[in-house]
């Protein structure tokens, strides 16, 4: 028998790439059905017109995560209430890939897009940490001389280090804190702009996540998932 807890843990590793938050926390898991060796999950999104590329990524990632759960022999992930529900659900079920699921509309798989949003998530996390450090009295110059090992021990720091690793960036304690998404230390004269921009990225992701959660709640009346 598959454990419900293991299924939820698996789903919690899947993030909305645009919002950098787990599907489980965003309320995107509409239902989970487990029967012996199979698991069936329905995903839902805040709007009918949410971008199909990200929707596809989340659906496919959820399938991959669930397949790794001990005891699971068959997985079905369906996206509901979306203008491309059919293309996405059946494409992921058949393992067709994105290009084949949207013939004539996509020219490539989603790796580049995923990478772009991993970079945004990384910069946003950096911006959030910098906002905290600013509150603690750090100046831009002081922040730019910090190493990863100097960062306060907290959830935001762990999340930041995880994003570093995801991008293949140096994450050891003696690596510099302020780097761009390619791992380069910004030149001294542009550090202010770098930090300002990181702040804008964090405000952007925060706002988007707040709006998406709100729209989901309006659309479904609540963000609680129904479990069966």
């Amino acid at each position: 028998m598959i454990s419900h807890g293991a299924v939820r843990t698996a789903l919690a590793t899947v993030r909305d790439p645009e919002l950098d938050e787990p599907l489980t926390e965003l309320g995107f898991v509409a239902s989970v059905e487990i029967s012996e060796h199979s698991v069936r999950v329905r995903l839902r999104l805040p709007t009918y017109f949410c971008a199909p590329n990200f929707a596809y990524m989340m659906t496919a990632d959820a399938r991959t995560a669930l397949e790794a759960v001990p005891g699971v022999k068959s997985v079905e992930v369906a996206l509901i209430d979306h203008h491309a529900s059919h293309e996405i659900s059946s494409g992921v079920r058949a393992g067709r890939g994105f290009v084949e699921s949207f013939p004539g509309e996509a020219t490539d798989e989603l790796d580049e897009l995923r990478r772009l949003f991993q970079a945004k998530a990384f910069i946003a996390r950096q911006g959030r940490l910098c906002a905290e450090l600013t509150q603690r009295g750090f100046t831009a110059a002081q922040m730019s001389s910090l190493l990863l090992g100097d960062l306060p021990e907290c959830e935001d720091t762990s999340a930041y280090l995880a994003r570093c690793e995801e991008l293949g960036l140096e994450s050891s304690a003696d690596a510099p804190f302020i780097v761009d998404a390619a791992g380069r230390v910004p030149p001294k004269e542009s550090i202010e702009t770098h930090l300002r921009f990181a702040r804008a990225v964090s405000v952007s992701l925060e706002t988007n996540a707040s709006f998406c959660k709100g729209l989901l709640a309006t659309r479904y009346g609540s963000t609680e998932e129904a479990t069966a």
Partner: protein, 359 residues
């Protein structure tokens, strides 16, 4: 004119609609999905007392429009932005022709914008020119994500689009309102990407590109472009209603806008009937920057709010600036440091006195 605490505000609502999404006009499930998605926006962000039932929201009357904008909504001038969506709605969702009927009855209250779609080719270009002549249009609303046949969108930098932008330049249609949205082709790219605005704004410096919704959900990309291009503006539609349910989030967003774009290039907009200008104007004028965010973003003075609420008007009436008072300007802490782009350098010069005043 809105008045509060001895301050006067000339209100230009930069984004209004008179739409028809009635079941009779809705052609397919996409049109159905579109208006329901709009309704969720309305329901999620409006104060309870401003909530409409769905059937009224699908199609409201001319009386509703005039009352909500001008009698109760404090709006002095409203800009009609058409959104044709003819693949979803038989007679279009909200058209220049329909808007013109209202404008003809109230010529001083509305500014009429047109629309074009580069996928309509030569015929579309001729039609647009005829519309400009007929209605004396000075602006156009573009919806790069609109579906048409097999196409799910286009880019401002497409060669066909440049022919239309060229025509706008020639005809003096110099306000280009761009709505970015999902499902632009190719589908594997970020469909909200605003990068095409950058290229078009560089190549058409005579035109002003108002990026509606401030590039939401790509604030960061938008800010970057607006910093590089002096002719890129921020339309507050869809963002400003956050002021009610997410005031802190809106304060940060506005703070970012003021930093990267500046109040003279921010346009107030209700996006009526998505939201009603009455409560937006009232809350915007009452709004203060939360105390702990002031060091980052500065105070929100009446002058900043005034300049955001009439920026479009000041820019379009070159002779003089109505309602602009020489009041105190926003102060920004000197610690923010010098921005780097050419746009920011000019901003810094313009704001130099404020820095001096503080030190």
């Amino acid at each position: 004119m809105y008045e509060k605490d001895g301050e006067k505000y000339f209100v230009v609502d930069g984004h209004t609609h008179f739409w028809d999404a009635s079941p009779e006009n809705t052609s397919n499930k996409y049109g159905e999905g579109f208006i329901k998605c709009f309704y969720d926006y309305h329901a999620n962000l409006s104060p309870e007392e401003y909530l409409w039932p769905l059937d009224k929201y699908r199609k409201y009357s001319e009386d509703d429009l005039m009352r909500d904008l001008f009698e109760e909504g404090y709006v002095d001038v409203a800009i009609f932005q058409p959104t044709y969506l003819t693949d979803f709605y038989a007679n279009g969702f909200n058209t220049t022709e329909g808007n013109a009927v209202i404008k003809n009855k109230h010529p001083d209250k509305f500014i009429l914008n047109g629309a074009w779609d580069p996928r309509d080719g030569d015929q579309g270009l001729e039609h647009f020119e005829a519309m400009v002549a007929k209605y004396n249009l000075k602006g156009a609303k573009l919806y790069t994500a609109e579906w048409k046949g097999d196409s799910k969108g286009w880019k401002l930098t497409d060669p066909e689009s440049y022919r239309y932008l060229e025509k706008c330049r020639e005809l003096g249609v110099n306000k280009i309102h761009v709505h970015k949205g999902p499902t632009i082709w190719p589908l594997n790219r970020d469909s909200f990407d605003v990068a095409d605005v950058d290229g078009a704004a560089t190549d058409f410096p005579e035109l002003t590109f108002v990026v509606e919704h401030c590039g939401l959900p790509r604030l960061e990309d938008f800010c970057w472009i607006a910093t590089q291009e002096t002719n890129v503006w921020a339309g507050l539609a869809v963002v400003i209603p956050f002021i009610h349910t997410r005031p802190r989030q809106f304060a940060k967003w506005l703070g970012e806008m003021l930093y990267w774009v500046g109040e003279d290039k921010i346009t107030f907009a209700s996006d009526y009937a998505l939201w009603s200008p009455k409560w937006l104007v009232e809350q915007f004028v009452d709004m203060q920057m939360p105390e702990d965010l002031v060091p980052e973003y500065g105070e929100l003075t009446p002058d900043i709010k005034r300049r955001s609420s009439d920026s479009t008007w000041r820019a379009s009436t070159t002779s003089r600036c109505p309602m602009r008072s020489p009041g105190p300007r926003r102060t920004r802490p000197p610690t923010t440091g010098p921005p780097r782009s050419r746009h920011d350098q000019s901003r810094r010069r313009a704001h130099g006195s404020r820095h001096r005043a503080r030190s």
